[in-house]
């Protein structure tokens, strides 16, 4: 890996970098920050504004107990404000409320997965839930207090990565669209963009829904499909002791300001090409989210919904992330976090840094996140799964 400045000030504007990261979301910026911390000359290019994709459009959850990155995720989150030097609004722990026996059974899995990795949870009866969650109601069946996970503010965290990377000498170029690559043999030597070509020793593609198309330009197949998900936000309510409360099929939190920010419900599949150049619009699905939030926290039923939002996210065929260095290209790292990227971002960025610098992850076994698992994927996998966009109806 060449040191800073080796890519020269040749023509000033198109100064390349040792590592060019395509995608200014939490994954790309976290990776950029981890690399810049190590003194690596890094440039993140982002087609729009940083964090405009799924990174800024999620529930802020920080618990992925099924993931090989979980332990590192849990270790890092409480340290992030200090490491980054900017606030992420991270708050530890979560209470998950079940309104019936079935949900209670489902939500036990987090307890089991946590326990397997040494994390404690408490089982709560209905009365205990109501004591801990003043907005909960008489419809509580039971719940869990997970002494792990938690939540952070996605926008604040995104900007914290960007600022912290800059403080370490990394660069972020926004409104710069990656269009293709210059290759020499099995190496990428430059990233062609809407603002010229940037030379590089290594390329990281962490471009959310565009990752598949960018990978294909290098002959690397990254199967994925894009979708829209939605959330709603209420006016602020008095703070509960613990803001990380969800359940009843919702994810979300009470923010430190007091707003209830919750999402959930069915996704809508969208072609990747349609995702570009448009913002995600929310739909009347917000009413169904409101309905379930009213069930989850009936004492908040009077609260006013003041905003909604939608976001585009990508998923791989098995829903698991890809963090891999495909064999076909010498100096390429691919990352898609497959709809769970925000919480994992501190650990994912570190894993990407390890892959870029040393070829393998030092702290976790990422074999389950390798692209090779899709080698025998059927060409019509999307049709088989029913991962297809809605048809535009006859309505005008």
């Amino acid at each position: 890996m060449s040191s800073r400045a080796s890519h020269g000030e040749d023509d000033g504007q198109n100064k390349g970098a040792a590592v060019v990261i395509i995608g200014g979301g939490v994954t790309g910026l976290s990776a950029g920050w981890w690399l810049a911390r190590d003194g690596v000359d890094v440039l993140v290019i982002e087609a729009g504004a940083a964090g405009w994709g799924a990174s800024g459009r999620n529930g802020g959850g920080c618990s992925h107990h099924h993931s090989p990155l979980f332990r590192e995720e849990q270790r890092l989150w409480p340290l992030m404000d200090g490491l980054l030097g900017y606030p992420t609004e991270f708050q530890p722990s979560r209470i998950r409320i079940a309104l019936d026996e079935r949900q209670f059974g489902l939500y036990r899995r987090a307890l089991e997965n946590g326990a397997h990795q040494g994390f404690r949870s408490d089982v709560l009866d209905a009365k205990q839930v109501r004591e801990l969650v003043p907005l909960a109601g008489d419809n509580v069946f039971g719940g869990y207090f997970y002494h792990f996970g938690g939540h952070a503010n996605p926008h604040r965290t995104l900007q914290a990565y960007a600022w912290a990377m800059r403080d370490c000498g990394g660069r972020l170029l926004q409104h710069t669209r990656a269009l293709g690559f210059d290759t020499r043999g099995d190496r990428v030597v430059g990233v062609r963009t809407s603002r010229g070509t940037f030379s590089c020793d290594h390329v990281v593609i962490a471009a959310g829904p565009a990752t598949g198309e960018l990978g294909s330009l290098l002959g690397v197949t990254v199967p994925m499909m894009s979708a829209r998900a939605e959330m709603i936000v209420t006016e602020p309510l008095p703070l509960m002791t613990l803001g990380g409360v969800d359940g009843n099929g919702l994810y979300g939190r009470q923010t430190l300001r007091g707003n209830l920010a919750y999402g959930g419900g069915p996704h809508e599949w969208i072609e990747a090409a349609d995702v570009e150049h448009t913002r995600p619009y929310s739909t009347p699905l917000q009413a169904s989210i409101a309905r379930r939030l009213c069930e989850l926290l009936p004492r908040a039923a009077h609260a006013r919904v003041i905003r909604s939002w939608a976001g585009f996210i990508e998923n791989t065929p098995d829903g698991r992330p890809v963090i891999d260095r495909p064999a076909a290209v010498q100096n390429l790292t691919i990352a898609t976090l497959s709809s769970v990227g925000f919480g994992l971002s501190p650990a994912a960025g570190r894993a990407i840094r390890d892959l870029v610098i040393g070829g393998s992850c030092e702290f976790a076994d990422l074999s389950s996140l390798a692209l090779s698992r899709f080698a025998s994927l059927e060409p019509d996998w999307r049709e088989r799964e029913g991962w297809l966009p809605s048809a535009i109806g006859a309505g005008e």
């Binding site: 504004a49 800024g56 529930g59 618990s63 099924h66 030097g85 489902l106 987090a110 397997h116 926008h155 604040r156 900007q159 960007a162 600022w163 926004q174 979708a227 006016e235 602020p236 359940g247 099929g249 994810y251 959930g264 419900g265 069915p266 969208i270 349609d274 995600p280 619009y281 929310s282 699905l285 917000q286 009413a287 169904s288 409101a290 309905r291 379930r292 939030l293 009213c294 908040a300 039923a301 009077h302 006013r304 003041i306 905003r307 909604s308 939002w309 998923n315 098995d318 829903g319 698991r320 709809s339 769970v340 389950s368 029913g386 966009p389 809605s390 048809a391 109806g393 309505g395 005008e396």
Partner: protein, 543 residues
């Protein structure tokens, strides 16, 4: 890889979960002011079409108390709590409402439109175009084929010491209370701003029995028509140019007086005696802002057009927006002096929009086509005026008033991208981020400023602070106001109680697979159980 693939249907997706929509109309018209009513009457003349006209007035008292949809500043007379009295006032103030009802228009008063949801490639699960409506009790969906938005205007807020006091209100809010409700609780007002819209409303307030004690203008001369100003001055109002409000002085009822301070052409405050003026109301008439939240949140292209008073939808000669089934008419399509002075311009826009909507519905309009409405040639530099107000009145204030009252954010906090105070984040001032740190190449998007500082994120949905924040971003980044992107609007564009929104009917299938984030079982198999083990797991949202 998933647990439920054989049919090729994704049970966790929106497929087959379209909500039942009981109501349908051909032409939906939002807003029953001059433009909306003219549109409704034009459309009703073509028989056989379903025309639905909604207007949020009378607005429930509690909503008005939260300064939604206008900055009412607590100056509502007690009668606004009496819904029937308000309905009668409305019907008196707008006789064409009765005409529209007689002509067969489905008129729904007290009904707000909180979202327009067109079917598009990225949101196609509901067929056709749908509007979200709400009255005091319930929220519901109605499908429509064409929509005319005639949502009027609201007022630009500009912060000063004590602007949170009851009695500080927007000019459009004062006019709404006086003219539509006959319920403005004000005796003596100071008018801030001297443009056509401000002076027009000042005169209307005078006619409603309000004494205008002073007209305050930061520029060196009044910017509106002299004859409108002269009438106010003849009634006893004093004109203070190169002045801004230093502060309000309050009593238990709110504003009791204001102090004015002189400013120079750069907005710096002059030493010298402060002017003290007793009043119970401060009417902010700095700028009338086209109310485009419904239009913008639906996805229509908007741009800053100085001749039309700021951000407005891009319209063709038939008032049609970039989404071809949506037309805008009246103040939300643009505000300029001659339009403010004569309602006929808004009415003509309404008729033109209705004719275009009728043609799109396959009906020939009864009347011949009218010539397209064009704004006055730009006479005023509204970019400079709006920024000048914020610089002189807000940035020049010694006490750092909250620009965003809901979230209590000051101008300095906006310019410094400060995290909200409740985070208790400490950082050396020299290292504090600046606006330019988000992107050295351009001014930050106001949505980014909002998310970092929380300015504009409160229950009034940014109605009182949105333009101030844009002006601050322009000042901080050294950009023109027109170059600052518009902070996005998102439905519901009127605050809606959770319980109200929750009562919308949904498809029986909606619950199916709800709890499974994406319904991809393999996503949630713990990594230590992967490999050879084809165990089926049910995904859980939120993990």
């Amino acid at each position: 890889m998933k647990s439920h693939t054989p049919s090729g249907r994704d049970y966790a997706s929106v497929a087959g979960k379209q909500p039942p929509i009981d109501e349908a109309t051909d032409l939906l018209i939002v807003g029953a002011g001059p433009a909306g009513l003219s549109a409704a009457l034009t459309a009703a003349a073509a028989r056989g079409l379903r025309v639905t006209l909604v207007d949020e007035n009378p607005v429930p008292l509690q909503t008005m108390g939260e300064d939604v949809p206008l900055h009412f500043g607590g100056r509502m007379a007690p009668t606004v709590a009496n819904r029937n009295a308000m309905l009668e006032s409305m019907l008196r103030a707008r006789p064409q409402l009765a005409e529209a009802i007689d002509a067969g228009v489905d008129v729904r008063l007290g009904t707000a439109a909180w979202g327009l949801f067109p079917q598009r490639r990225t949101a196609a699960w509901i067929d056709g175009h749908v509007a979200g409506l709400a009255d005091e009790e319930r929220a519901y969906l109605i499908s429509f084929k064409q929509v005319i938005v005639a949502a009027g205007c609201r007022d630009m807020g500009v912060a000063f010491d004590g602007w949170q006091r009851p009695g500080v209100m927007g000019a459009a809010a004062a006019y709404r209370l006086a003219a539509t409700y006959d319920a403005l609780d004000s005796r003596t007002a100071v008018l801030v701003g001297s443009g056509t819209e401000a002076l027009q409303i000042g005169n209307a307030l005078l006619d409603a029995g309000v004494r205008i004690a002073a007209v305050v203008e930061q520029a060196e001369a009044a910017t509106g028509p002299m004859e409108l100003l002269a009438r106010l001055l003849a009634s006893g109002a004093r004109l203070f140019t190169r002045h801004v409000i230093q502060q309000t002085v309050g009593d238990p009822n709110g504003v009791a007086a204001v102090r004015l301070v002189g400013v120079d052409e750069d907005g710096s405050r002059l030493s010298g005696p402060l002017q003290w003026i007793e009043c119970d109301t401060v009417v902010l008439g700095v700028a009338a802002i086209p109310a485009i939240e419904l239009i913008e949140s639906a996805g229509c292209a908007v741009s800053f057009q100085a001749a039309r008073g700021g951000h407005v939808p891009t319209l063709d000669g038939s008032q049609r927006a970039s989404l071809p089934f949506l037309h805008a008419a009246g103040d939300c399509a643009g505000i300029w002096p001659s339009k403010t002075l004569s309602e006929e311009t808004a009415r003509r826009e309404g008729r033109i929009a209705a004719a275009a909507a009728l043609r799109a519905l396959g009906v020939m309009p009864a009347r011949a086509d009218e010539a397209a409405v064009l704004p006055d040639p730009t006479a005023r530099d509204i970019e400079r005026e709006r920024v000048a107000w914020v610089r002189a009145m807000t940035l020049g204030s010694a006490v750092a008033p909250f620009v965003c009252q809901c979230e209590e954010v000051t101008a300095a906090e906006v310019l410094g991208l400060s995290p909200p105070r409740y985070l208790h984040w400490r950082r050396a001032a020299s290292e504090a981020p600046r606006l330019g740190s988000v992107d050295p190449e351009r001014a930050p998007h106001p949505d980014v400023v909002k998310r970092l500082t929380r300015a504009g994120m409160g229950p009034c949905q940014g109605r009182r602070c949105r333009e101030q924040i844009a002006a601050l971003v322009a000042l901080g980044a050294g950009s023109g106001l027109a170059d600052i992107p518009l902070a996005t609007y998102r439905p519901p564009v009127r605050p809606l109680r959770l319980a109200q929104l929750a009562a919308l009917p949904e498809a029986a299938a909606m619950g199916e697979g709800w709890e499974s984030w994406f319904g991809i079982a393999s996503q949630w198999i713990p990594f230590w159980r992967l490999g050879g083990c084809a165990e089926e797991e049910e995904a859980v949202a939120g993990e």
